[in-house]
Structures are given as C-alpha cells and as structure tokens.
C-alpha cells in the first residue's frame, strides 16, 4: 500500500526514517483532498444538471444558510485542519530536535558546491558519507549567499545561511546513494549545485573514515577519493604533517602564526626587518624555518626539507593562500572555527 501510493504520487525513494513518517501524513492529506474535491465537483455538476436554466425567467427561491449550517461549514474544516496541524507539528518538532548521540558533520555551501567536514577527520566536496542506522546531524553554513541543502529521498531541506549556523538531522536506515540538490536560488549555476549522500553499512563507514584519516586510498569504497584541488590537498597534507598543531586557520595565534590571511601580509621579523609572506617566503619557512622567524614567536619549528614533496609543499602554499577572510569586513570569529575555509 505504501509503495503503491508512493509511486502514484511520484514520491522518490524513502531514504530516511522521517521520510516514512511524513509520507503517511502526505497520503492521508492528499487522499482527503481528492475525496473532498471529487465531492465538491460532483455536487457542482449535479446542481448544474438538476438546476439547469430552462427559460430566461425561471423563478428561484430565496435560500439563506441557517446558522447551524454556517457553524457546520466552519466547524468541520476547522477541526480537520487542526487535527492535521497537530499530527504534522508533532513530526516537525521530532525532526527539528536532533538526538544526543548523533554524528556531527559540518556542511558549508559555496557557489556552487557543498563541502562536508568531519570534526575529527577528512573533508570532501559534494559527497557526504554517513553510516546507516545512526542519526547524523548536519551543521550548515554558507560562505557567500543563502543555499538550501535538500535531499528529496530524505524529504528534508534546510537553508545554509552565511554568518550563522542551522542544523538538520536524519537517520538513513539502509545503505544507498541519495541525490543532494540546492533548493534556494543562489545564482548562475544554482541548478548545477548537486552532490550525493552515500550511506554505508556501519562497519564500512568506520573503515572508510579510518582510511581517510590515515590518508590511504581505499579504491574499493565509494567516496574514497574525490578529485581535489591543490588547496584541498594542502589541507589534507597540513593535517597529516601536523602543521595544524601549531598553526591555526582561524586567526588565533598559537605556537606559530595563524595561516588565516597570512598570504600577502607583511610580517615583522625577529631581530628587525619585515618580510612579505609570498609563495617564496612560505616555502622557505617550510624548508628552513629558522631563517626568518616572525617577531614574537619562538624558533621551534622543525624543517621539512626532504620530508615534503614538491606537490605537497605547493599544495600547502595554495591552502594558505586560500585562507583569507571571505570578504572585507568579516572578522575571523564569524567564520566556522573548526572548518578550514578551504578552496
């Protein structure tokens, strides 16, 4: 019955626990609507035939609704509507309240791609990998204009808004793949801003996440390798090489200078003088860190000469270059603290 009605109404696959619940309410509402619409249509056509005008001056009686009829016309739809509202709002409250034990994933919308970042692990573009049978909470924000994260199979969407966070949770009961669309108009390639949710069996998900963290390609698993830009690669390298243990990407000084907005900045040096943090200086500082130490920091950084491939050091430079406050006037604190503002 569920399957029949779902296909009849052109609803997509039920990919989340919420989808099953909400579809049932959907069937009840649409079938009631059809029934009443057919009823109204039938009464209208019956009146049309029964009271069809025969002569131009047919006499008609004066009929006025009795008060009990008016009360009926108000009362019946009102109680029906309120019943539906109560049923629907109960589901709404349930789906707006993420469970305590959910897996958090940060989602950043950007013209015109989705970026998914796991607090302890990797990040990926346009592909969200989650375990089946476990609630997942998405924390959404945007780097530019408003987007809306929409998975039709989950019957769920939420706007991603620059400068603030919204959240959404779902639980996908079965492994599978689900289309992600952007539902809030965001400019030229709005219709191309697509992604996918890959739901893996829990064991496969653990394996995938471990592999991602250890930076090993696991060809057998979907989502193991996304085509990546240098900046994304640099972000991965930075995590793998431990750069981020001393350098933050949020603007906060730590053991070393922050990378946020570093590229192009004029840095005062220990012992006098100023250096422009360009590609050359950044690379020099990786390979021979003690040559030019920024004023106020201890000379503690190990040299990476011979430990970083050219591709990796270039990727790191690109990553640092990409770390800038997204627009003039935005302070670093408004940016997600835990999401490297990559790409």
């Amino acid at each position: 019955m569920n399957e029949l009605l779902r296909r009849l109404f052109f609803l997509p696959e039920q990919g989340s626990t919420f989808a099953v619940k909400v579809d049932h309410l959907h069937y009840v509402l649409l079938l009631t609507t059809f029934a009443v619409a057919v009823g109204i249509g039938a009464v209208g056509i019956f009146f049309l035939v029964r009271y069809h005008r025969r002569t131009a001056s047919d006499p008609t009686p004066r009929v006025v609704a009795a008060p009990w009829m008016e009360a009926l016309f108000i009362g019946v739809p009102l109680s029906l509507f309120l019943l539906w509202f109560v049923l629907g709002f109960k589901q709404f409250v349930w789906v707006m309240s993420p469970p305590q034990d959910s897996l958090d994933v940060y989602v950043t919308g950007k013209q015109w791609m989705w970026k998914f970042t796991y607090p302890g692990g990797p990040s990926a573009i346009d592909r969200l990998v989650v375990p089946a049978g476990r609630p997942v909470r998405l924390l959404l924000t945007s780097r530019d204009v408003i987007h809306s994260f929409y998975v039709p199979d989950f019957r769920m969407k939420r706007d991603a808004i620059p400068g603030r966070y919204t959240d959404l949770w779902f639980e996908a009961p079965r492994p599978g793949r689900h289309l992600v669309l952007c539902a809030e108009y965001c400019g030229l390639d709005h219709s191309q801003m697509r992604g996918e949710v890959v739901v893996l069996p829990p064991a496969d998900f653990e394996a995938w996440q471990d592999a991602q963290r250890r930076n090993l390609p696991v060809a057998a698993l979907p989502g193991a390798r996304t085509p990546e830009s240098m900046a994304v690669r640099g972000e991965r390298v930075a995590a793998a090489q431990g750069c981020l243990q001393c350098h933050t990407v949020t603007g906060a000084p730590h053991i070393g200078p922050t990378w946020l907005g570093l590229y192009g900045r004029k840095e005062p040096l220990e012992g006098g003088g100023v250096v422009l943090a360009d590609e050359a200086y950044l690379t020099e500082s990786m390979m021979d860190p003690l040559a030019k130490v920024v004023a106020g920091y201890a000379p503690v950084m190990p040299g990476y000469h011979g430990r970083l491939s050219a591709e990796d050091s270039g990727a790191l430079v690109e990553f640092i270059k990409s770390l800038r406050p997204p627009r003039p006037g935005v302070t670093a604190a408004e940016e997600p603290v835990y999401v490297p503002t990559g790409r």
Binding site: F10, T33, P59, R62, F85, G163, R194, G329
Partner: protein, 535 residues
C-alpha cells in the same frame, strides 16, 4: 457595427488627449485593463520561453544567465504589473462607483495619478530588466540581491514606484466606500465585489509601505553598503525575508481577494440566486485581510526559524484557509436550487472553485509544517501558487472580463466560442500545472535552468499544457478584439443580472446615473414572492 446609440462615457470626447487627462473612473479602469492585459501578454511570453527551455535537461534554447533573468522577468511582470493591479485597478475602478451608486471615486485626480505612477514604475522596471537584466527572482533574497552584478537597482526603484500607485488606489477605494455610498445603501447591502475590493484596499494601504521600505533598504545596501542585510557587513539576511514576506504574504490576498469578489458576483448572476451566506462571505473577507498579516513565517520553515515560531505561523495559516473554505461552501450553496446558465463566466467560476480548493488544500498541507520540509522551494510550491494565481485569479479575471465586457463596451461576444475557449483554458491549466505538483513531489527544486534527466517526462507534459493554455488565450484575445468592433449591441443588461452595476446603461453615461438609484434590498435578490418555487 453601429456605435452604441446612447451617449456614453466612450463617446464623451474621442481624442487620445481626452483619455490621457480624464478623471472618469470608468476610463481609468479601461486604461488599467488595457495596460494590465499588455503586461499579462508579456509575462505569458516569458513563461513560454521558460517552458521551452525546460523541455530538455541541459541547454535547450538559452543559457543559465538568460534563464535566471527570464524567470525574474516573468515573476516581476506577472506579480506587480499584472496580478496586483489587474482586478482592483481595472474592474474595481470601473465597477465600485457603479455598484454603490456614486458618480465617481472619492479622489478622481489621485486616481489618474495612479495610472501615471504605474506606467512610470513599469517603464523603469522593464528598462532595467532589458538593459541589465536582474537575475534575483521576484523575491530579491539577500545577500544574493545585494551582491549580484546585474541591474537590480532599476527594478527595485520601478517596483517601489508601482507600490505608490497601489497605495493610492487602495486609499481611494476605502474613502469611496466609506463616503460615497448612495443613500439607503447600508453596509450590509453593499455588493460582495465591493466588500472584496474594500478588504483588498486595507491590505494594500497597510502592507505596501513595508515593501517600499524593504526595497529601499536593499537599494541602500547596494549603493552605499548600508550593512542591514549583508552578513559580510554585519547585517542579517533573514531580516530581509521577514520584512519581504510581511508584505508578500498579504500581497497574495491582494491578488486573490478581488477574484473572490468577482466569483461572488458571477455565481449569483448566473444562477439567479442571492448569496447563500452573505454575512459569511463578508466576515471571511475581512478575516482574510486581518489574519493574512500573521502568517508570513510559513515561507520560512526551512530557514532555521525557531520551531515554536514555525508552529505558530502554521496554525495561523490554517485559520486563513478556513475563511477560504467557508467561501467555497457559500458559492456552492448559492448554486443550490438556482437557475444555472452555462455561460463562459460560469464555466470560469466552476474552474475557479475547483482550482482554489485544490491549491488551497495544498497550502493547508504546507501549514502542517512537517510536510513543508520536502515541498518548500520545489515545483510543488510553484504549482501551488500558480493554482491560486492562475487557477483562481486568472480564471476570475477571465470571468470578470466576459461578465462585464458588455457593461464596458456595450457589445456582445460570440458566446459559443467563449464557452469553448473557457473549457480549453481549464484543460490547458490542468495539463500545465498538475505535472508541476508531481515534479515537486519528485523533488525538483524551483528556479532550475537545468535538471537531472529523471524529471524530464513531467516537464514535457507541463510544456505541452502551457502551449494549449497559450492557444486558448490567443483565441480569447482574437474574439474579444473582434467583438469590440463588430459585436452585436448588448443592450443594458444582457445577462438579466440583478447586480447593482447593471442599473445604469451599458456602456454607462459619464455621470453613471440619471436618477438616484434606490436600494430597498441587497444585491442579487431574484426571488419573486408572487412566483412560488416549483417543488
């Protein structure tokens, strides 16, 4: 093709200048009718272009930028240049004074000014659209609208100017209905169309200034970087949505309330019956005008608005739906034991009732909040508001156009052809918009120039329906244009209607009434006491 015999408002000065400087509410109504019909034609062309592009996934005839500009053009033209002025400014201007036994509206010169403001605003907006082509959609959501490189500014300014035209028209009607009703025409005898225009006018006067403010703020943001809505400057983009929908939700009732008034008149005239429940219709009109102001948050269930807030807005939206349901039952009751004439206005009326009910019930489904999370910003919403805007308002506009065509022009149109066209329009409408409901269920987001291939079959069906609809409109345009010149003289009251506007000649003389009309009963009282009802 002899001109109408008696002196009428049409023969009182035949130069273009006499039209451009007229203070006559009837001529102003006719001018608005011509202008809104022109913009309806333009908006329809834009819609066809969209439908053609959507025939295939990927590029069919235009690229993404052109598509984005096209749907903005379609939305801005249809909402502000056609829907909002169509019934109030055209038919309202022509009929309200006739229906209440007045010589003109309260402020005739202000009335003329509203025509010129409308033309000015429309010109500025369209100039901007064709010069730089805004690509924000008619909703101008920030921060996209404050950062996009396209010509948003002239469109904002144009709509701002049109807003003043709307406010002046509304103000004029409120003053007219309060002060110029003929002696004896008490409030509870006022025709239901006048009540509908009165309710609409209240919304226009209260809501439109908010639109003006928000458009001005977006303009400030673009020009001097005011930082009100753009988060990059410390602003709040959600504030824009609250302000915009505080206007734009009531604006839906600006578009649909007058159409309900038309239907109340047409149902009575073509079934020769008094309204089944006059007072329910009056109170629900005022109820919609009032409660309509407290439902705007139902456009923002997915925006991260508080759960409690969404619930409150959902519950209020259910109340607005009740008022509409009451009206549908009253119209149906009016048909009961009537003498129903199958004429084009009645066919449109039946279509109106069905589409309003269906579209309205989908609105009720959205108001349950949980169902909205799937449908929000998809083709389901597109279909829903087209059911209300086209299925209800355009049907009512066509009903009004046919019902009052003899009143305005003094001529008849070919009735059989009109009935056929009405049926064509109704089927074309169903074929266009039912597939869009299903597209929404399937998960097709709105404002997509391109789409994944599994949506295609329903898009093809919708485009096929749209061409049927377009053909229907062309047929109507052809026979009405022909009838303007060659139609048979209609006589004063060709429908045998007891509506008050038919008490003056058709077309009416410049001064409307030669003797002051009297109002012993309310409108549409057809029952003759000496004729007992048969069984």
């Amino acid at each position: 093709m002899s001109p109408p015999a008696a002196e009428s408002y049409l023969s009182d000065g035949r130069t273009v200048w006499s039209w451009l400087t007229t203070h006559d509410h009837k001529r102003i109504g006719v001018m608005f009718l011509g202008l809104t019909l022109f913009f309806f034609f333009l908006g329809g062309l834009f819609a066809l272009a969209l439908r053609i592009e959507l025939l295939t996934p990927g590029r069919t005839v235009m690229g993404h930028l052109a598509y984005n500009r096209m749907f903005t053009l379609h939305g801005v033209t249809m909402v502000w240049l056609f829907m909002i002025p169509a019934i109030p400014s055209a038919f309202g201007n022509f009929l309200v004074p006739l229906m209440i036994g007045a010589r003109d509206v309260a402020f005739p010169r202000l009335n003329l000014a509203s025509v010129y403001l409308y033309v000015l605003g429309a010109s500025v907006a369209l100039w901007g659209m064709f010069e730089g082509g805004a690509d924000t959609g008619w909703t101008f959501y920030t921060p996209y609208s404050t950062t996009t490189g396209t010509a948003v500014l002239p469109v904002l300014v144009g709509v701002f100017i049109i807003g003043f035209s709307t406010i002046l028209t509304g103000l004029n009607f409120i003053a007219t209905v309060h002060t110029l009703r003929a002696p004896g025409l008490t409030w509870m005898k006022v025709p239901l169309f006048v009540w509908a225009i009165y309710g609409t006018s209240i919304i226009q006067v209260l809501a439109t200034p908010v639109l003006g403010m928000v458009l001005l703020l977006v303009a400030l943001e673009r020009v001097v970087g005011a930082g009100i809505f753009d988060p990059a400057r410390g602003g709040d983009p959600i504030l824009f949505q609250h302000l915009f929908w505080f206007y734009s939700h009531p604006a839906v009732y600006i578009m649909v309330l007058p159409s309900m008034g038309v239907i109340s008149e047409a149902v009575s005239a073509f079934s020769r019956k008094n309204a089944f429940s006059y007072r329910m219709i009056v109170y629900s009109t005022l109820g919609i005008a009032f409660v309509g102001f407290f439902t705007w948050g139902h456009h923002m269930f997915a925006s991260g608005q508080s759960t409690f807030g969404s619930g409150a807005f959902g519950a209020m939206s259910m109340l607005v739906a009740i008022f509409t349901a009451i009206k549908i039952f009253s119209w149906l009751g009016t048909l009961y034991r009537g003498s129903i004439a199958i004429e084009s206005p009645l066919i449109y009326t039946l279509g109106f009732m069905f589409f309003l009910f269906f579209g309205g019930m989908i609105g009720v489904a959205y108001a349950t909040t949980s169902l909205n999370l799937h449908w929000h910003d998809t083709y389901s919403v597109v279909a829903h508001f087209h059911f209300i805007m086209v299925g209800a308002t355009v049907m009512a506009f066509l009903a009004a156009l046919h019902y009052w065509f003899p009143k305005m022009s003094g001529r008849c149109f070919p009735k059989k052809l009109a009935n056929g066209a009405a049926v064509l329009i109704i089927f074309g409408f169903i074929a266009t918009f039912v597939p869009q409901f299903l597209l929404g269920n399937l998960g097709m987001p709105r404002r997509y120039a391109d789409y994944p291939p599994h949506f295609q079959s329903l898009h093809v069906a919708s485009t096929a329906g749209a061409s049927l609809l377009a053909f229907g409109f062309l047929v109507i345009a052809a026979y009405l244009a022909w009838s303007l010149r060659y139609g048979a003289a209609a006589g004063d009251n060709p429908w045998g209607s007891e509506g008050f506007e038919w008490r003056s000649a058709s077309p009416p003389p410049t001064h409307n009434f030669t003797t002051p009309p009297e109002y012993p009963t309310g409108p549409h009282e057809y029952a003759r006491e000496e004729v007992p009802h048969a069984a």
